[in-house]
């Protein structure tokens, strides 16, 4: 059995990499991939606690998180495609129409 601390530490590292990706990159698609990394970090923590507590509820939650992630990716990529049609760019620092 894998110690809970190892899994939680790995989850924290993965989440941090996702946060850094969102903050550092300016390509909207890579920002989206970083968000997926963060969701997966949360999933890893859920599975780790489920294993530790002899319970299946954590795994059910991961199932729901995956559903939400799939829906989010579909809608988000549609938005990105639409933005690219309008602005010819998906770099988030060039999409500044609301900036005034």
């Amino acid at each position: 059995m894998i110690p809970l601390t190892w899994s939680l530490a790995l989850s924290a590292v993965l989440f941090t990499i996702g946060v850094v990706g969102v903050l550092v990159r300016r390509n909207a698609l890579v920002i989206f991939m970083s968000i997926e990394l963060m969701l997966n970090a949360a999933n890893l923590a859920f599975v780790a606690f489920a294993q530790q507590m002899n319970s299946l509820d954590g795994q059910i939650f991961v199932f729901f998180v995956m559903t939400v992630a799939a829906a989010e990716v579909a809608v988000g990529l549609a938005i990105i495609v639409n933005v690219f049609r309008l602005r010819e760019t998906i770099f988030v620092d060039e999409i500044n129409l609301l900036k005034g």
């Binding site: 894998i2 990159r25 698609l29 999933n43 599975v47 795994q59 199932f63 990105i80 690219f84």
Partner: protein
């Protein structure tokens, strides 16, 4: 054996996740993300979440990443060229905040904390992980499961409507 496998998968996961963030080319980032999801699926298998490991590969590495790659190729993107002082400032701030976050979570992990009471409800022996999850999903979590189908329907309709573009009565093509 299992701890060594876990460490190997964890190292691969961290390395590929870093490559996703660091690589300039979005296509390469997406392919590294597939590798990251596969190593995470391996970790799930080690944690006796076999169903989730398989779903991770099918849904994430299969469906979601195909969607990503399709959009990347559809948009035909250049490399992510970044220059200038502003970029350096943003990059420094990003890595600094990341280090701060990692420090915070490390402090939280190393300080004394305890789990709640461990449930006695063991997954039934003799049946697989998928069967056990199915039983819980279709009994205790039936209502959230049905709500999920509505969520997927809304996302599907929303994605189609958004990506279709504007073709209003004013005749302005997308």
């Amino acid at each position: 054996m299992v701890p060594y496998l876990f460490l190997g998968f964890a190292a691969m996961l961290v390395a590929t996740a870093l490559m996703v963030v660091l690589h300039k080319n979005p296509v390469t980032s997406a392919l590294f993300l597939v590798l990251a999801f596969c190593s995470l699926a391996g970790i799930y298998l080690l944690m006796h979440a076999e169903f989730l490991g398989m779903v991770q590969i099918i849904v994430y590495a299969g469906a979601i990443m195909v969607l990503f790659l399709f959009v990347i190729m559809y948009l035909n993107l250049k490399h992510d060229i970044e220059t200038g002082v502003q970029t350096a400032v943003r990059r420094g701030l990003g890595w600094g905040l990341g280090a701060l976050l990692l420090l915070t979570s490390g402090t939280l992990l190393t300080r004394g904390w305890s789990m709640g009471p461990v449930l006695a409800e063991l997954p039934a022996q003799g049946e697989g992980n998928a069967a056990a999850i199915g039983k819980v999903l279709y009994s205790r979590y039936l209502f959230p499961f049905e709500i999920t189908s509505i969520l997927l329907l809304v996302a599907m309709v929303g994605a189609i409507v958004i990506a279709k573009g504007r073709k209003g009565p004013e005749g302005e093509g997308a």
